[in-house]
Amino acid sequence: MNVVVCIKQVPDTEQPIRVKPDGSGIEEQGLNWILNYYDEHAVEEALRLREKHGGTVTVVCVGPPRATEAIRTALAMGADEGVLISDPLLEGADHLGLARALARAIQRLTWDVVLCGRLATDDNAAVVGPALAEFLGVPQATAITRLEVGEGMARVEREVEGGAEVLEVQLPAVFTVERTINEPRYPTLPGIMRAKRQEIRTLTLADLGLAPSEAGAQAARVRTVRFDPPPRREAGEVIRPENPEEAAERIAAFLRDVAKVL
């Protein structure tokens, strides 16, 4: 059972994010970069598969050179090998371009299952997993909360509106995982020491046999043209309800009609 995990390095979600005054991006200075939370769960699930079925866990990441730190986190957790796809020509690539690059790298490996986090907490896109499955020509299931692997087959559970569904999926396959699938382990000290020494292979688009017109900015079909700060809150009102019933009704009406979360 060889598992490939696609990971991403993202800003820590617990930090404030500031948009650059010209809207060209976010201020990166002082940001703490971490392994995307959902991907941590994907790494954990891969390690559990290896413990149960044997085989290897390889992490693949697209990003700038600093993203090797996210790979080292995964290695320190116990992954066997790390691959970084890093190329300035990927600047301006869209998610399909990134998925193409990942697919090329994965096609060179021997694998049964590809795991991804359900989404990356920076762009929230949730596009790479299914796109990767398409480029690899295998089935997929997204946002899974349970994974059991049998002979040539996986049984997964995924959240759908108001419930859950259990699916049987033929392997090889791509799965994207929810945070509730497991509790990720902490890197151990020996793991951290080993991860520090470990060589991480870096691949460029040329190494993958991809032209910029296939995966770079030229290939992109969507482009983020501007970043804005989050919308400002509307001026609020303070009410003094006659009784608790009225207070509860007013709050519920607000949640339903204004915030639209009910």
């Binding site: 399909l96 569904e165 079909r221 983020t224 043209v225 809150r233 009410i239 003094r240």
Partner: protein, 329 residues
């Protein structure tokens, strides 16, 4: 003018509300461009959906009605949808951001080499270009995205951002049937079970709703009140610093300068006075609802809705009201 499509999501023979929301937005986009609005229906035994789709604004209804589409299976749905798009070349396709919409649309985009934007909160045109707005960085920033090229453009639209289309009784649409070729289409997933589940606790920093308690809760046992409300709302539970310092809740509950930064759609501050250290962690929330008996609490200066009153009386009743609202759908 190339058509604008809405992928109709339906369950148990009924259109989901988000389909009506997308029809409303799709109608506006189509009118602005002088284009036809077409609803694409994938399923089996779905003919009866044509009439409600027409009554909610579709000029045309495309039916892919086949036993292979009886329940959602990614490969069958991807095949039917890409065949439909290849044959008719719509300019834009609005897809509901449901579990299956999010599963399907990126795969369709990959097969077609089409641009895709997810988590769309607004859509508009600038000249010939389709534009979308979406939240990023757990709602700490907003991205404005342009679709590049000729299309088809795939926009996966969040629920509840557009009002549902009004119903015009008797409005009709041209109904077309898609002849999908099924030979050689692999379907390697199979649904074996489906069941209702309660929503799992969501992580604080990614929750859409956060219910948070402060000193006003008076003791650890009263956090149960908030847990109950959070369970009804599918929310995460947090706190200001005093409950953490008093040992009522663990440190990972804390929101503020020494805790977590959250930016949910709604932050419900219960018995929280609103110290600047706390505001630093939650003022990025889209809406803030505050319940506090002290009318001079600083939290009221940042609240979208401030309620002066006794939390011990208000919260249990709010739980009841929310429960009733959910029961009546």
């Amino acid at each position: 003018m190339r058509e604008i499509w809405v992928l109709a999501d339906h369950a148990e023979g009924q259109l989901r509300r988000i389909t009506l929301e997308l029809l409303g937005k799709g109608r506006a986009l189509a009118d602005a461009r002088g284009a036809r609005l077409v609803a694409l229906v994938l399923g089996h035994g779905v003919e009866h959906l044509a009439s409600p789709l027409a009554e909610h604004g579709a000029d045309g209804v495309l039916l892919a009605d086949h036993p292979m589409l009886a329940s959602y299976r990614v490969e069958a749905y991807t095949h039917a949808m890409t065949e439909a798009i290849r044959e008719h070349r719509p300019w834009a396709v609005l897809v509901p951001s449901t579990a299956n919409g999010r599963d399907l649309a990126p795969r369709v985009a990959a097969r077609l080499g089409a641009g895709i934007v997810t988590d769309v909160e607004d859509l508009w045109t600038e000249g010939e270009q389709l534009m979308a707005r979406r939240p990023m960085y757990t709602r700490k920033a907003v991205g404005i995205v342009a679709f590049v090229g000729e299309g088809p453009h795939l926009a996966v639209v969040l629920p509840k951002v557009f009002p549902p289309a009004d119903r015009q009784e008797g409005r009709s649409a041209e109904v077309r049937r898609l002849a999908v070729q099924w030979e050689g289409v692999p379907v390697r997933t199979r649904e074996v079970e489906r069941r209702e589940v309660r929503r799992e606790r969501v992580p604080l920093t990614e929750a859409e709703i956060v219910v948070s308690g402060g000193r006003g809760l008076r003791g650890p046992e009263n956090f149960a009140l908030l847990e109950e409300l959070a369970a009804e709302l599918g929310a995460a539970v947090g706190s200001s610093r005093p409950p953490v310092d008093s040992g009522w809740v663990p440190h990972d509950y804390e929101i503020g300068q020494t805790g977590k930064t959250v930016s949910p759609t709604v932050y419900i501050a219960v018995g929280i006075s609103g110290a600047p250290q706390h505001l630093a962690g939650m003022s990025g929330s889209k809406y803030i609802v505050a319940i506090n008996k002290d009318p001079n609490a600083p939290i009221f200066q940042v609240a979208s809705l401030g309620v002066v009153g006794d939390l011990f009386e208000i919260v249990p009743r709010l739980v009841e009201v929310v429960r009733r609202a959910k029961a009546s759908g």
